[in-house]
C-alpha cells in the first residue's frame, strides 16, 4: 500500500511517500506565498521520485498549520497526532516528543501504545520557536546554520534578560557593543530558547525517551542547551523536519485499512 503525508508548515512544506510502511520518497520546499500551489507541485515531485502516480495512492493525509489548504488530501490530522505517530514509528521507546518548528513549539506525552496523553503548544510567542533563533542570527550577522555550531565553542553562561524575540534582538546588539564574544552570545541565545521549551515541556512532564523533531532539532547548539536544561540526553530524530509528514503518511495508511 502506498500513502503520502503532506506537512504544510509556517515556513516549509514537507512530503513523505510510504510504501508498506517504508519511506520511498521525501520532498521539501519553502511554503512561499501560495501554499496550496507549493504543496501540489511538491506532491507531484515526490510521487515522481517514488515512481508512482496519484491514482496509486491509498490515501493522502495532510497536517501542519496549513493542512486545510491541501486539496489532494483525503484526511487531515493535527501536528500533535502526526508528531506522536511519526515519533513512535522511529523509536517505540519514546514517551515525550519535543517538536520545535519555525513558528510553533510543542511537547507531546504519549503512552507505549502511541496514544497521546497530554500536550502543550506555544503558537503565540516567537520566543519558543525557530523564528527566535532566526532573528537572533540576523542580529549577530551569522548564518542560522552557523549559529548552533558557534555556541558549541562556549562554556560561558551569559544570562539573557529578555524573553521576547524583539527585546532579545536589542539585547544581542548591546552584548555585541559590550564586546561579548559571539560564541558566548550564541550560547546565551540557545540557553534562552531551551529554557522556554523546557518550561513548556515540564508542564506535561518529561519522561524518557525524549525525541526532538522539527527543523530546530537540526541546530546542535539548541540540542546541547536543551540537554543541559532538562538534565537528560534527548534523541534527535534523523531528518527531524520530516517526522510529522511521516506520521501523517502512517495515519493515511491506517485509515485506508
Amino acid at each position: 500500500m502506498i500513502t503520502a503525508g503532506v506537512d504544510v508548515g509556517a515556513k516549509t512544506v514537507k512530503i513523505v511517500v510510504l510504501r508498506d510502511r517504508e519511506v520511498v520518497a521525501t520532498a521539501k520546499d519553502l511554503s512561499g506565498f501560495d501554499q496550496a500551489k507549493v504543496a501540489s507541485e511538491l506532491l507531484a515531485q515526490a510521487l515522481e521520485k517514488a515512481n508512482v502516480t496519484q491514482g496509486d495512492l491509498a490515501g493522502i493525509c495532510s497536517t501542519g498549520a496549513g493542512r486545510k489548504i491541501v486539496s489532494e488530501a483525503t484526511h487531515s490530522v493535527t501536528e500533535v497526532s502526526a508528531g506522536a505517530k511519526g515519533s513512535l514509528f522511529i523509536n517505540p521507546d519514546v514517551r515525550t516528543v519535543i517538536d520545535v518548528g519555525a513558528e510553533e513549539g510543542r511537547a507531546i506525552r504519549c503512552t507505549e501504545k502511541g496514544k497521546v496523553e497530554d500536550f502543550a503548544v506555544n503558537e503565540k510567542c516567537a520566543a519558543g520557536s525557530g523564528a527566535f533563533t532566526e532573528s537572533m542570527a540576523r542580529a549577530l550577522e551569522v548564518d542560522v546554520a552557523e549559529l548552533g555550531k558557534l555556541s558549541l565553542g562556549s562554556d560561558a553562561s551569559v544570562p539573557m534578560n529578555a524573553q521576547c524575540a524583539v527585546f532579545a534582538e536589542s539585547e544581542v546588539v548591546s552584548l555585541l557593543h559590550a564586546e561579548t564574544p559571539k560564541q558566548d552570545i550564541s550560547k546565551a541565545i540557545h540557553d534562552a530558547i531551551a529554557s522556554r521549551i523546557t518550561s513548556m515541556a515540564r508542564r506535561i512532564g518529561l519522561n524518557k525517551e525524549v525525541l526532538v523533531i522539527g527543523g530546530v532539532a537540526l541546530n546542535v547548539g539548541f540540542i546541547r542547551s536543551l540537554n543541559e536544561a532538562i538534565e537528560m540526553d534527548v534523541i534527535v530524530a534523523d531528518d527531524p523536519e520530516f517526522v510529522n509528514a511521516l506520521g501523517a503518511a502512517l495515519i493515511a495508511a491506517e485509515r485506508a485499512n
Binding site: C125, A126, A131, Q163, C164, V166, F167, S174, H177, A178
Partner: protein, 291 residues
C-alpha cells in the same frame, strides 16, 4: 544608509521667560528607559527645562547626555541642583543622582502633575514595557499591573512596524485613519508573527494605512486587556511615547468608552517629571544638598 523610520524626534526645551536663579529649590529627574531617556529640571515645582532622547548602549552615558542637553543654554550646572532623582530601567546607573525611585511611582507622581489631581488611572506605554497604574488624588500608587516580557503593546513593537511599512513613526497615527472602513485587528499577538502577518496582508493588496489601522487596533486591544485586569477608574490618562500616537489612543478610548485626558507637556517626560517632584518633596523634608 536606508532611512530609519522608527526614529522619533529628539529635542530639548527650556523656559526662556524665567530666571532659574530666582528659584529656591532646583531639582532634576532623570528617566533612563530602555528605549528613551529624559532629563527634567524643575524650579520650585514648576517645569523649567527638559530633554528627550534615544537611550544609548550604556546607561550612565545616556543619563549624562540627557542631562547635558537639558542644561544647554540655561547657564545651570550639575552643582546648582538641590536634588537629583534617577528613575526608569537604568535608574541605578545615573551617576549624579542622589536617589533612585521606581518609574511606576514616578509616572503616577508625574501624571498627577501633568493631568491634575483627578487622574486615577495612568497607562504608561513605554519603549519596552507597558504599565497600568492606579493612583490617588496625590499621585500615590494604589495598584499596578505591568507587561515587561513581551513587545506586543510597547513602543518598540510600534517602531518595528514603522520600519516594516516604511512610515515615519510620528505619522503612524494619522495614516492609520486614512481607511474607508476599520479592518479587523492583526490576529497575531507576537510582534515577530504580526510582522509576517502584515507582510501577507500587504501582498493581498491591503494599503499601508489599512495595515497600520489593523496593527494600531491590535495594540489598543492588547493594552485594553491589561487595563481591564487592573480595573480602570476615571479620570484616565496615557503617558509614554505611544501617548502621542493617535492611532492607538483613539482606538483604545473607543474600546474603553473613556476619553483620555490631554496634557500640554510631552507624554514621554512624565517619569522624569515625577522624579523631579519627588526630589523637591525630599528637599522640603530637609534632605539633599545645601547650596
Amino acid at each position: 544608509m536606508a532611512k530609519e523610520f522608527w526614529r522619533w524626534k529628539e529635542y530639548n526645551w527650556h523656559d526662556e521667560n524665567r530666571d532659574w536663579r530666582e528659584g529656591k529649590i532646583v531639582t532634576s529627574g532623570v528617566d533612563v528607559g530602555s528605549v528613551s531617556s529624559q532629563a527634567v529640571i524643575m524650579v520650585d515645582g514648576e517645569l523649567y527645562a527638559f530633554s528627550n532622547m534615544r537611550t544609548g548602549s550604556n546607561s550612565p552615558d545616556s543619563a549624562h547626555n540627557a542631562m547635558n542637553w537639558a542644561l544647554e543654554d540655561t547657564g545651570m550646572t550639575l552643582d546648582d541642583f538641590n536634588f537629583v532623582v534617577g528613575t526608569g530601567y537604568g535608574r541605578v546607573n545615573v551617576p549624579f543622582a542622589d536617589k533612585a525611585i521606581t518609574e511606576i511611582a514616578c509616572h503616577a507622581r508625574g501624571g498627577n502633575y501633568m493631568y491634575g489631581p483627578t487622574v486615577r488611572t495612568i497607562l504608561d506605554m513605554g519603549g519596552q514595557d507597558c504599565k497600568a497604574i492606579l493612583c490617588d488624588e496625590r499621585g500615590k500608587v494604589t495598584n499596578f499591573l505591568m507587561n515587561d516580557k513581551c513587545a506586543a503593546g510597547t513602543g518598540r513593537g510600534m517602531e518595528v512596524f514603522a520600519d516594516l511599512l516604511g512610515v515615519s513613526i510620528e505619522d503612524v497615527g494619522d495614516l492609520s485613519f486614512d481607511v474607508e472602513e476599520e479592518p479587523p485587528p492583526v490576529s497575531s499577538t507576537c510582534v515577530v508573527f504580526a510582522k509576517s502577518e502584515a507582510a501577507s496582508l500587504l501582498r493581498e493588496g491591503w494599503s499601508q494605512s489599512k495595515v497600520l489601522a489593523a496593527y494600531c487596533s491590535a495594540m489598543a486591544h492588547r493594552v485594553f486587556t491589561l487595563l481591564e485586569r487592573v480595573g480602570v477608574q476615571k479620570d484616565f490618562a496615557i503617558t509614554g511615547g505611544i501617548g502621542k500616537n493617535s492611532g492607538v489612543v483613539k482606538r483604545l478610548e473607543q474600546e474603553l468608552g473613556l476619553t483620555a485626558l490631554t496634557a500640554k507637556h510631552d507624554t514621554q517626560i512624565a517619569g522624569a517629571l515625577g522624579a523631579a517632584l519627588f526630589g523637591k518633596a525630599l528637599v522640603e523634608k530637609g534632605k539633599g544638598r545645601k547650596k
